[in-house]
């Protein structure tokens, strides 16, 4: 089973933030706890990935989202668990 290689350069396409704005209630938990400050509020007060290229896929946003509104999607071959 492949592990994420830390040396591998991150690209925009590898990690996608699927945010359901209908489900998001704008509590800001994901924004606050993101270690790379990837997320911000959009103009509706919902979470938005404004710097997805900085995402390290720690999934803290997904794990702590009380609304089940965020999914981190890893593209193709990177479809595995993360440390």
């Amino acid at each position: 089973m492949a592990k994420n290689k830390p040396s591998e350069p991150r690209t925009k396409n590898r990690i996608r933030h699927l945010i359901d704005t209908q489900w998001c209630k704008g509590c800001g938990i994901c924004i606050h706890f993101c270690p790379e400050k990837v997320l911000e509020f959009d103009e509706q007060g919902k979470a938005k990935a404004v710097r997805p290229e900085d995402c390290i896929a720690c999934r803290l946003c997904e794990l702590r989202c009380p609304d089940l509104a965020i999914q981190i999607i890893m593209d193709k071959e990177d479809n595995h668990d993360h440390p």
């Binding site: 089973m1 209908q22 489900w23 209630k25 704008g26 509590c27 800001g28 938990i29 606050h32 706890f33 803290l60 997904e62 794990l63 702590r64 989202c65 009380p66 609304d67 089940l68 509104a69 999914q71 890893m74 479809n79 595995h80 668990d81």
Partner: protein, 274 residues
């Protein structure tokens, strides 16, 4: 072989989302941890029965795509006992609020623990009655504000872990919604444990408890779960023994599980009636 990657949409009833919980309510984080635990254990959805009582936390049953039983206030463990004893092959999970589990449901809680019936009780402790609008619970503790304690509470709080231990629960643990992965791992162990498991998860009610007691918004309350707790055996706890302890307090595999013990009764009764 690697199992399919976790997607919570495989485990919920999508049509009922967004859920009813307030912005920033920690209950949804417990829901996420529970679903991840079920996924990682590789359980079949058809082998799980989630039974709940009444309150904000108890609405969890409606959202999960398992067999779900949303019962009456405080009695979820009694209903779940009927489910489990009548069909022991099912995994019985009972998410409860602190008032539901330990005020109106306190009797069922201690007796389920005493029997050591194989049920996983998840107490989502936000120290308040949220659904009815912010009344103090048996977990609020003294000196707290609530709509029914305008001059501060004088009632002392239960310690869920100590209570569960002394009532005979054979798996007792505590975590918080700040520690979502730890919560998930503990829930996994609790579900796997054969016997009565109690998992207390500290969760925030920013709408009532946080607001009334000036503990800030959901984020600040979650930060508080990090600051005010420490893992059993950690340096942090050693340095400050007054912190709320997290981790697994009891994991006793020597006590007979109730349904298995009853199978022995059946064997005896059948032999004697011959």
């Amino acid at each position: 072989m690697k199992q399919k990657e976790f997607n919570f949409k495989d485990y919920i009833r999508n049509r009922y989302f967004p859920h009813i919980w307030c912005p920033g309510c920690g209950h949804g984080i417990v829901l996420g941890a529970l679903l991840r635990a079920v996924h990682e254990l590789g359980l079949e959805k058809n082998e799980i029965v989630v039974t709940s009582g009444i309150g904000c936390s108890s609405r969890i049953s409606g959202y999960v795509d398992f067999h779900t039983l949303h019962t009456i206030h405080g009695r979820a463990l009694a209903f779940a006992t009927g489910v489990k004893l009548s069909k022991p092959s099912l995994k019985a999970i009972v998410p409860m609020g602190d008032g539901d589990a330990l005020a109106i449901g306190g009797n069922h809680f201690i007796h389920a623990a005493r029997r050591n019936i194989d049920i996983t009780a998840i107490v989502m402790n936000n120290r308040i009655y949220g659904m009815t609008g912010g009344q103090f619970s048996p977990l609020s503790g003294s000196g707290k504000k609530a709509t029914t304690a305008p001059y501060l509470t004088i009632d002392r709080a239960f310690d869920i872990v100590d209570l569960a231990k002394s009532a005979g629960a054979t798996f007792v643990a505590r975590s918080t919604v700040f520690h979502a992965t730890e919560s998930k791992d503990i829930i996994k162990k609790a579900i796997t444990h054969k016997g009565f498991s109690v998992v207390e998860i500290l969760t925030q009610c920013p709408t009532y408890y946080g607001r009334k007691n000036k503990e800030g918004d959901a984020i600040q309350m979650m930060e508080g779960f990090n600051t005010h707790t420490a893992k059993i055996g950690s340096k942090k706890l050693e340095n400050n023994p007054n912190l709320i302890q997290r981790g697994i307090f009891v994991e006793d595999k020597t006590v007979p599980e109730y349904c298995e013990a009853y199978d022995q009764i059946i064997a005896t009764a059948m032999k004697e009636s011959l």
